[in-house]
Symmetry: C2
Subunit: 354 residues, 2 copies
């Protein structure tokens, strides 16, 4: 037994005693059709269990109402949150989400080709690099591409990010204000713009203010790699007394290693600052001081921008930056001044002179 044939618009038309066009119009908001006819069609459709075939519809309209979404690093709780918000946001605008998860490290291209075969209306790349060749290819085909939480070299691809560089600067300032002098930086993926920008802000502020560059290790945004990096960093004779971790996920790994393998107390022996403000990092056990990347605003910006790009593919590329705050919790020594309350949350807001 092969699967039963689904009812088509023609079937419905026959039952309702109208033409197939009428059925199509009955399901097209704003189409020219008499109310009475629409009801007759609706009734017939109900009887037959008819649903318009999105595939056929897409073929004629040349708009799939599907958006390809690439995501990886789901171990970092930031991304599941993003996926969830993105799903709702796109659904609300009538888009479906074709999800693919490129193997971290390997090229996403073959899988991307499969997704492109579906003539997606747009592509959202969360946490994935794609070859610039492929980006151009999409651009040429007029497929809007949007980088989420990542930027590309050229100005060619639109993006939505947090304040990576500013966050890095504020964190440097915050730690120094807390009296720390032996700083460490735990980098994420070397080729990621987020890690680069955060480091740039962090190291940049230190350099500008006459501090030595921080010790540096690479954690690849992964728990295990970050744990290993933490071991190297904490085993040094000149062990840092404060570490800026490229994201919260790595920061929790560092906290685990510091406490359970080195017997350090946080923040007495070691101050930790993260980035993202997500997931377990907020739990009392970690109470991580972290620069926030608010998921909902970032996703809202993404959905709005992507819809705009679909409607006007010729629009210039844009780079949305969503504002964050350095949320002060308990994982890092608190500076004597500079923290202010924002609602129930303490944030770092140093008073600037001139």
């Amino acid at each position: 037994m092969s699967r039963k044939r689904q009812a088509t618009a023609t079937d419905v038309a026959r039952l309702a005693g109208v033409s197939q066009s009428a059925v199509s119009r009955a399901f097209t908001p704003g189409a020219s059709i008499a109310e009475e006819t629409r009801e007759r069609v609706a009734e017939a459709a109900r009887q037959l269990g008819y649903r318009p075939n999105a595939i056929a519809r897409s073929l004629t309209t040349r708009r799939s109402r599907i958006i390809g979404v690439a995501a990886s690093y789901l171990q970092n709780h930031f991304y599941p949150d993003v996926l969830e918000a993105l799903s709702r946001g796109l659904q609300a605008r009538g888009y479906q989400m074709l999800l693919f998860m490129p193997d971290a490290g390997r090229h996403a291209d073959p899988q991307l080709q499969e997704v492109l075969a579906w003539r997606v209306d747009a592509l959202i790349l969360a946490s994935t690099t794609l070859s610039s060749e492929l980006a151009d290819q999409c651009q040429a085909a007029g497929i809007p591409v949007l980088l989420f939480n990542r930027t590309s070299r050229g100005p060619s691809v639109s993006s939505v990010t947090g304040e990576n560089e500013r966050g890095g600067r504020l964190i440097a300032e915050f730690l120094v204000a807390g009296g720390h002098r032996r700083l460490g930086f735990l980098a994420g993926l070397e080729n990621s713009s987020t890690s680069r920008d955060r480091e740039k802000g962090f190291a940049g502020w230190l350099a500008e203010n006459g501090h030595p560059p921080p010790l540096r290790e690479v954690g690849l945004y992964q728990f295990e790699a970050a744990s290993a990096a933490a071991r190297r960093l904490l085993a040094r004779p000149d062990r840092p007394d404060a570490i800026f971790c490229g994201n919260d996920h790595m920061a929790t790994a560092v906290a685990e290693v510091a406490r359970h393998e080195f017997g350090l107390r946080i923040p007495r022996d070691l101050s930790l600052v993260g980035f993202d403000d997500t997931g377990p990092a907020r739990w009392p056990s970690f109470s991580l001081t972290s620069f926030s990347q608010p998921v909902q605003p970032m996703v809202d910006a993404t959905v709005a921008l992507v819809c705009e790009m679909i409607e006007n593919p010729a629009a210039p590329t844009r780079h949305e930056v969503v504002r964050g705050e350095l949320l002060v919790r308990g994982s890092a020594r608190m500076p004597p001044e500079g923290c202010v309350s924002l609602g129930e949350q303490l944030v770092w807001r140093p008073v600037r002179d001139g």
Copy 2:
């Protein structure tokens, strides 16, 4: 400027000097076509940047090679892991994943309708219920439906689950063997089969072995709700000295509350056991004793089963149960005997008599 028209098979055919059918055959493995022709077509396709249009292809073949996937509760780290594995598994078999995330609690139906409009080849529902009406509708349309980590009332819908009831029994046995007598159970969602089955096993074993029923609270599988439930449970005068939490995600919430709000030490003052063996629960800070639901085997079974169902829609429904183990870590008092090493991991393997 509207988006540029993508090259079609006809364009390629013209350039290659063949018919459109030939182009189609060139891209269809196993089709009858001369090697030389195929190469000529391939070259023309390359020049034009042609990719077969999956939408048109699906319309004629009547197979979309898309599988609808519903997921929710992504805060529970189990599900991101599942998504990741599922994505790879389906990709490897040439399927794309149309993801949608029903609002937790509410019915998935309206969104599901949108997904059905895409004539998905199958539907995988992870942690979501669908109305029986809709189930019938899918059944009638011959669309295979697979429940992941959940079962339905009747035997009508196939499923892949862990050993929920057996896990519950083993945990009861384990805690009692550890000397606990004041037990608590933290339920997940009341209407979820996982929570019901785990409780059934847990309470069932206790009853059969002459123990009073456990104290009971509901945590809805959510962090906040579980925290609140933990507060109620731990504030009681007859506070339990061991709690079986319906999953690891809730167990971490309980651990946080117990430690930071009640000053309890784990496992000295309170034993905790979870379910799933995922995410932060494995970290040293929690070191959660937990009954495992191994993601990869569960996903492998799911992918295999769903492919089978697609190839043979008339096949009888099946209920795959993937074996788990009670992994013994540090969050619960260890019984004097009954734990054995399995590789590097301690597991609960009581010797049964007769």
